[in-house]
C-alpha cells in the first residue's frame, strides 16, 4: 500500500494538480512547496503530453508551455526526487498512457517509485485496459488510480472493487476546466463507490471556488483542483508561488472544514 491513504486520515482531503515544467522546472518546485504550505494533502504532478485528450484548454496550454520549455519525463523524475527530500505528503503522477508506455512501462514504474511517487492517474486507461499498467505499478508499490464518471452507472461497482489508492470521481461530462455549477448527483456516486470499496474517493473536474470545494468534499472524501491553479500559473508565471499558496489555503481550508 502506498502512502495515499494518509491524505484522507485527518479530514477531507484537498488535492492540488500542477503541470511539471509550466513554465519551467524551478517554478514548479516553488509552486509545489507553496501548495503544500497552503495545506494541500496530496499533490498531482502532471507530466506534460503533446495531445492531452481529456484536458480542457487551460491544462492543454500548460502542457504546451512545459513542452516548449523542453521538459522531459526524466526531468520530472529528477524534480520529484528533489521534492521528496522535504515533502512528506503523498504525490501521484497524472499523465497519458503513451508517456508511460513509450518510456517502457516497467522502467517508468521503477523510476517513479525510486523518485518517491505513490501512484499514477492515466485518464486514457479505463478499467478494460488497466492490465497494461496495473500489475507493473503494483510491483513497484504504486497505486494505479481508477476513475469513474457520471456515465459510469453500471460500471461503478466493477471499477470500485478493484480500485487502489483513491477513486477519482469525475464530476461532470466533458474535459477538465472550471465550471459554474456541477449538476451530477455526486452523493449517489459516492454511495455506490462506498458500497464496493473501503478506499477513499475524491471529486475532480470543474471545481474552482471554496464553496464548490467544501460541497464536493462534503459529498465525498476530498476535492481535486487543477485548472484553477494552472490559471494562476498562466497569469503569474515564475511569480505564481505566492498566489498559489494563498489560493490553495482558501481551498484547503474549505475542504478541511467539510
Amino acid at each position: 500500500m502506498s502512502r495515499i491513504h494518509q491524505a484522507f486520515e485527518n479530514h477531507k482531503a484537498f488535492i492540488a494538480f500542477i503541470t511539471v515544467g509550466d513554465p519551467d522546472l524551478a517554478t514548479t518546485e516553488k509552486v509545489v512547496h507553496a501548495a503544500v504550505e497552503g495545506g494541500a494533502d496530496l499533490i498531482e504532478l502532471g507530466i506534460p503530453f503533446s495531445d492531452p485528450t481529456a484536458e480542457g484548454p487551460v491544462i492543454m496550454e500548460a502542457d504546451n508551455r512545459a513542452l516548449a520549455g523542453g521538459t522531459t519525463t526524466d526531468d520530472v523524475f529528477a524534480l520529484t526526487k528533489k521534492l521528496r527530500e522535504t515533502i512528506d505528503i503523498p504525490m501521484v503522477y497524472m499523465t497519458y498512457a503513451n508517456v508511460v508506455f513509450s518510456y517502457g512501462t516497467e522502467k517508468f514504474m521503477q523510476k517513479a517509485a525510486d523518485a518517491g511517487i505513490d501512484g499514477l492517474i492515466l485518464p486514457d486507461v479505463p478499467y478494460e485496459e488497466k492490465e497494461d499498467f496495473d500489475p507493473l505499478a503494483t510491483k513497484y508499490g504504486l497505486d494505479l488510480v481508477s476513475m469513474i464518471a457520471p456515465t459510469s452507472e453500471n460500471r461503478i461497482a466493477m471499477i470500485a472493487k478493484e480500485a487502489k489508492g483513491f477513486v477519482y470521481m469525475v464530476s461532470s461530462l466533458g474535459v477538465t476546466g472550471t465550471r459554474a455549477s456541477i449538476t451530477t448527483d455526486i452523493g449517489a456516486m459516492t454511495k455506490l463507490v462506498k458500497a464496493n470499496t473501503d478506499i477513499p474517493c475524491a471529486v475532480g473536474f470543474g471545481i474552482s471556488t471554496p464553496e464548490q470545494a467544501k460541497k464536493m468534499a462534503a459529498l465525498s472524501d476530498g476535492a481535486i483542483v487543477g485548472s484553477a491553479i494552472i490559471k494562476l500559473l498562466a497569469e503569474y508565471g515564475r511569480d505564481a508561488a505566492g498566489p498559489v499558496k494563498e489560493y490553495v489555503k482558501s481551498m484547503a481550508d474549505a475542504a478541511h472544514s467539510a
Partner: protein
C-alpha cells in the same frame, strides 16, 4: 496478460476516458445487433446504390498500362461516388446505425475535408444535426470543402490546438463527445480510434474489395497480383484489402505519405518512421519522439497528414500480410499530374500516393500481371494546393 476487446494482434483496444466507455459499449452492442440484420442491410444497400452511386466502376486504364509497359492497371473508381470519395460508404453506414440508436446529432473530424463533407451530406439527408472539427491549417488549405460543409448545414469548428491538422481535429472531436454523449454519435472517419470503430469502419468500407474482387473475376477471370491504396488512418486501404486478405498470392500495398522524405522531420509515414504507442484510443504505430510525445507530422495531403495508422494495418504489417511503402509529395504530385493527362482523371492527392507506387512497380511486372489501384477520391479539392506547389497562385 489478458487482452481487452477489439484487438488485432497486440494492436487496437479501448484507451479512452471512462466517461466514454459506456458510449463505445452501447455502439458495439448496437453494431452487433444490426450488422447482420437483413432490414438494416437492405436499407444500407439501397442508400449505397441509389444515393451514393455504387457499385463503383473498376476501370481498365489502358493508356496508362501501355505507357508504363508492364502490368495491366485497373482503377477502382471511388472518386465517382457521391461526394467524390470513399468516405460516404462509412458515413451512410454509421449514420444509419446512429439513427437506429436514437441519436440525432453527428460529430466528426476531418483532414482533407472529404469525411467532413460526407458526414455533413449524410446528416442533411437523414435530418440530423452535424458538427465537424477541422484543423485550422486544413481549413485554409481545403477552403472549398469548408464551404461545402456549411452549405450542407453543418457547423465547422476550426481547431487551433497543436499543429492544427487531422490529429488535433480527432482530439477535439473526442473531447466534444465526452461532453455530449446522450444524443450524439461520433462518426469517426477512419479505421482507427477505440474499438469498435476500427471494425465498424472496415466493415462499411469492405464494400470496395467485395465489389472489386467480383469485378476483376468477371473481367479477367482471375484475381489481381497486387492491390494498392493510400494510407493515412487507412480506411480506403483496409476496405480495398479486406476481401483479399485470405488470398495469399495477392500483394497488398499501403502507400504512406513520406512528405518531404522519410529521412526528414517533414513526414507522416507511420509504419516507416513510427513506433509502437497508445494514442487516440488505440495501441498501434505512431510517429513520436523518444518520450512518447506525438510528432507534428507533415504531408502535402491533408487526408494522410496523421501521426498514426489503424490497428488492423499495424497487425497486417506485423504478420507480413501487407506492405507499407512511403511516397513523397513530389512523387504524389507527379502522379496527380500524370493521371490527369494520361487518363483524363484528376485523382485526390491522397489517392495519387497509391498511383505513384503503381507507376513505380507496373513497369517491373509482366504484361499478364494485374494491379488494382484504388482511386479513393477526386482531385478537384486539391487543384489550388497543387498549383501553389508548382509555383502558381490560383484565385477563384
Amino acid at each position: 496478460m489478458s487482452q481487452s476487446r477489439g484487438r488485432f494482434g497486440i494492436h487496437g483496444g479501448q484507451y479512452i476516458p471512462e466517461t466514454l466507455m459506456n458510449a463505445v459499449i452501447e455502439l458495439e452492442d448496437a453494431y452487433n445487433k444490426y450488422k447482420d440484420d437483413p432490414q438494416f442491410n437492405a436499407e444500407l444497400t439501397e442508400l449505397l446504390n441509389n444515393y451514393a452511386g455504387r457499385p463503383s466502376r473498376l476501370y481498365y486504364a489502358e493508356k496508362m498500362t501501355k505507357d508504363l509497359g508492364g502490368a495491366k492497371i485497373y482503377l477502382k473508381r471511388e472518386d465517382l461516388n457521391h461526394t467524390g470519395a470513399h468516405k460516404i460508404n462509412n458515413c451512410l453506414g454509421q449514420a444509419l446505425l446512429a439513427k437506429k440508436m436514437g441519436k440525432t446529432r453527428l460529430i466528426a473530424e476531418t483532414g482533407a475535408g472529404q469525411h467532413g463533407v460526407a458526414t455533413a451530406t449524410v446528416a442533411a439527408l437523414m435530418g440530423m444535426e452535424c458538427v465537424v472539427f477541422m484543423g485550422k491549417v486544413d481549413c485554409e488549405r481545403q477552403a472549398l470543402n469548408v464551404y461545402k460543409m456549411k452549405l450542407l448545414g453543418a457547423d465547422v469548428v476550426p481547431v487551433t490546438t497543436g499543429t492544427g491538422t487531422l490529429k488535433d481535429a480527432v482530439s477535439q472531436a473526442m473531447r466534444e463527445w465526452t461532453s455530449r454523449i446522450e444524443d450524439t454519435h461520433y462518426c469517426l472517419g477512419s479505421c482507427m480510434g477505440p474499438h469498435p470503430f476500427p471494425t465498424i469502419v472496415r466493415d462499411f468500407q469492405a464494400v470496395i474489395s467485395k465489389e472489386s474482387r467480383a469485378q476483376i473475376l468477371e473481367k479477367e477471370g482471375r484475381l489481381p497480383d497486387a492491390v494498392i491504396a493510400c494510407v493515412g488512418g487507412g480506411s480506403n486501404a483496409i476496405g480495398s484489402f479486406y476481401h483479399y486478405i485470405g488470398d495469399r498470392d495477392v500483394r497488398l500495398v499501403g502507400c504512406e505519405a513520406a512528405g518531404r522524405g522519410i529521412d526528414t522531420k517533414d513526414t507522416a509515414a507511420t509504419i516507416n518512421t513510427g513506433r509502437l504507442g497508445i494514442f487516440h484510443g488505440m495501441k498501434s504505430y505512431f510517429c513520436q519522439n523518444e518520450y512518447g510525445q506525438i510528432a507534428p507530422v507533415y504531408s502535402i495531403s491533408a487526408g494522410l497528414d496523421y501521426p498514426g495508422i489503424g490497428p488492423e494495418h499495424a497487425y497486417l504489417h506485423d504478420i507480413g500480410r501487407a506492405e507499407y511503402v512511403a511516397i513523397t509529395d513530389e512523387e504524389a504530385v507527379g502522379a496527380f499530374e500524370y493521371l490527369s493527362r494520361m487518363e483524363g482523371i484528376i485523382p485526390a492527392i491522397e489517392s495519387a500516393h497509391a498511383l505513384a507506387y503503381a507507376m513505380k512497380i507496373a513497369p517491373t511486372m509482366s504484361k499478364d500481371q494485374i494491379i488494382i489501384v484504388t482511386v479513393s477520391g477526386r482531385g478537384d479539392k486539391d487543384c489550388a494546393a497543387i498549383a501553389r506547389y508548382r509555383g502558381q497562385d490560383l484565385r477563384d
